[in-house]
């Protein structure tokens, strides 16, 4: 069955993905996604009942380590890459009114 994605869904996905698409870009993205989902629907041919979802190729257990600091203070080095910084902090637009 051909997938049809509503404008509302595209809007919602844009919010989740934190992407702002122009009108034309959005139409193309919608078309691409519908086509891709049609293709992914092929998986429905497979009977996967009783099959556990496998997130990892190997059975990996939680890996614990001691919570100890191993690196030195790298604040200034980290801030070097900040688009905007001041007084040893990242500068962002006001978040609380």
């Amino acid at each position: 069955m051909a997938n049809v994605i509503s404008d509302e869904t595209m809007e919602y996905v844009g919010i989740l993905a934190k992407l702002e698409l122009s009108g034309e870009e959005r139409q193309q993205a919608k078309k691409d996604m519908e086509r891709m989902l049609d293709y992914i629907d092929k998986l429905n041919e497979l009977d996967t009942s009783g099959v556990e979802p496998m997130s990892h190729a190997f059975p990996v257990q939680n890996v614990f380590r001691e919570d100890v600091v191993t690196n030195t203070d790298m604040r200034d080095a980290m801030l070097e890459n900040a688009p905007q910084r001041r007084d040893g902090s990242f500068v962002v637009p006001r978040t609380v009114e």
């Binding site: 934190k18 996604m33 990892h56 190997f58 962002v92």
Partner: protein, 491 residues
């Protein structure tokens, strides 16, 4: 071109140890090759001439002092631009990271440096490793050194092109769905994707974390094994890193495949496979058979489900991984915006290219409530079935042999118009990432247009040694045959 640029990495390392060439001379030769080739090939995003020469001097001093004696000490190499290099621009070929200079290096890069390898620069790639042609790079396309009208493959296209063009002696790449093996096939070099977790992903900019693996790209199988031996290590900084005790990969460089059981999936030889590629791959299998391997065809099954499962899982992981690029701590920030949320949205929308946006959107969709079970979990269940199919195959075979890609390198500009068609080109490589198994692509011939063809060998988890041995034996047989043909021509 300086003849010495054609040496393998191990041969150059030997000459450096024997004082026939210094590390500085080797780096100078590579840099001069880069200067004359880059205009056509454009394999690099960043070339660090000054840093490489400085580092070569230090390495030479250590070699002279007897502090460095490893097989690749002093050898110049290139690193894919999604691996962090301390103090050296790391862009992932994306506008959003166009100015990012990491304060630390990836563990794989650290391991190389400890072994005395000199990093020349960072290689071009598809943006965030999403693509199969290196055409989605923000910094322009890389061209195939065998024919500049064709793509080098991707996403590690820059690394493979740099090795093929003798701009470096080997390179590191990353492979999420075939990004080492497919461009290696297109560029006529050897590329190996190790078992998931063998090489630490610390400092590799994440795309699909459950699938990503770093690996070597080199001129021959021996170099690949030697590089893998250096970069493979258990790393507490990567919680999926494995504690392996069998990392002596060069011990598998044996010209002996007697009794080795090799299976060729019939599903890999069907529709969509180019006739010339098919012929070259089957001829490679014949060579191994003549050398004593037991070769037969079999049905792997589920092959056509690997691509839809992969694009669901990889896009889901990408949408989560790439949420860190928000214009706050590093990378590109939009110039004009109204408030925090618009800053995020504009920075990301202006910073990411179309293919990356496409995958982030798809990923966000398949993970969203209401669709999570139908798409994401369904893909994870399919992944489990694909893994089981490989488990069954490896009960019967030591190695699975097939093509690395359905065709040779397409022409520039042919692939991007139809993303789905481009995704279908990943059909033979993608399952290995889902199953976590190792794979190697080795050159096995040329098509009638003079473009390289690669044969892919897949092994069970932790069995790199088997594919290295088969690949090495094949390479030996091919060299031997070429020498005989040379003699016949002379006679």
């Amino acid at each position: 071109m300086d003849d010495r640029l054609e040496l393998s990495a191990l041969a150059l390392g030997r000459q450096i140890r024997e004082r026939k060439i210094s590390a500085v001379e080797a780096v100078q030769a590579a840099l001069s090759r880069i200067r004359e080739t880059e205009e056509t090939v454009h394999a690099f995003v960043t070339v660090d001439e000054e840093g490489a020469l400085r580092r070569a001097k230090q390495v030479q001093q250590k070699i002279d002092a007897g502090e460095l004696s490893g097989p690749l000490a002093g050898v110049p190499a290139a690193v894919k631009d999604n691996l962090c290099t301390k103090g050296l621009l790391t862009t992932c070929a994306s506008r959003i990271l166009e100015n990012f200079v990491p304060p630390y290096s990836a563990q794989a890069v650290e391991n190389l440096e400890e072994a005395g390898v000199v990093v020349l620069g960072k290689t071009n790639m598809d943006e965030f490793a999403m693509g199969s042609t290196t055409e989605t790079s923000y910094f322009g396309v890389t061209r195939n050194p065998w024919n500049p009208e064709h793509v080098p493959g991707g996403s590690s296209g820059g690394s493979c092109a740099a090795v093929a063009a003798n701009e470096c002696f080997f390179a590191l790449g990353s492979d999420t769905g075939g990004s080492i093996r497919q461009p290696s096939s297109f560029c006529g070099v050897v590329g190996l994707k190790p078992t998931y977790g063998t090489v630490s992903r610390y400092g590799l900019v994440a795309y699909g974390s459950s699938l990503d693996q770093i690996g070597p790209i080199a001129k021959n199988v021996s170099d690949c094994a030697a590089v893998l031996e250096i970069i493979a290590s258990h790393d507490p900084k990567d919680s999926t890193s494995l504690k392996r005790t069998d990392l002596d990969f060069t011990s598998a460089l044996l010209d002996d495949v007697k009794g080795m059981r090799i299976g060729i999936p019939r599903d890999y030889l069907g529709e969509g496979l180019d006739g010339e590629v098919r012929q070259a791959v089957l001829a490679a299998a014949e060579v191994l058979k003549e050398r004593g391997a037991e070769v037969e065809e079999f049905d792997l099954s589920l092959v056509e489900y690997a691509i839809p499962a992969y694009y669901t899982i990889a896009s889901a992981e990408a949408s989560s991984n790439l949420s860190r690029f928000d214009g706050v701590k590093y990378g590109y920030r939009a110039k004009d915006f109204d408030g925090l949320h618009q800053m995020y949205k504009k920075s990301r929308s202006e910073g990411f290219g179309p293919e990356v946006k496409r995958r982030i959107m798809l990923g966000a969709f398949v993970l969203s409530s209401g669709y999570y079970d139908a798409y994401y979990l369904k893909a994870l269940r399919t992944k489990a079935l694909i893994k089981q199919a490989f488990d069954r195959a490896f009960e019967k075979y030591d190695v699975i042999l097939g093509p690395a890609a359905p065709t040779t390198a397409p022409r520039l500009g042919e692939s991007l118009a139809d993303p789905l068609k481009m995704y279908l080109g990943d059909i033979y490589t993608i399952s290995a990432n889902l199953a976590g198994i190792p794979g190697i692509s080795v050159p096995c011939g040329m098509d009638s247009r003079g473009l390289p063809i690669g044969v892919q060998l897949l092994g069970n988890c932790f069995e790199e040694k088997k594919i290295i041995r088969a690949a090495y034996a094949y390479e030996c047989a091919r060299a031997c045959r070429a020498a005989q043909q040379g003699k016949a021509v002379e006679a």
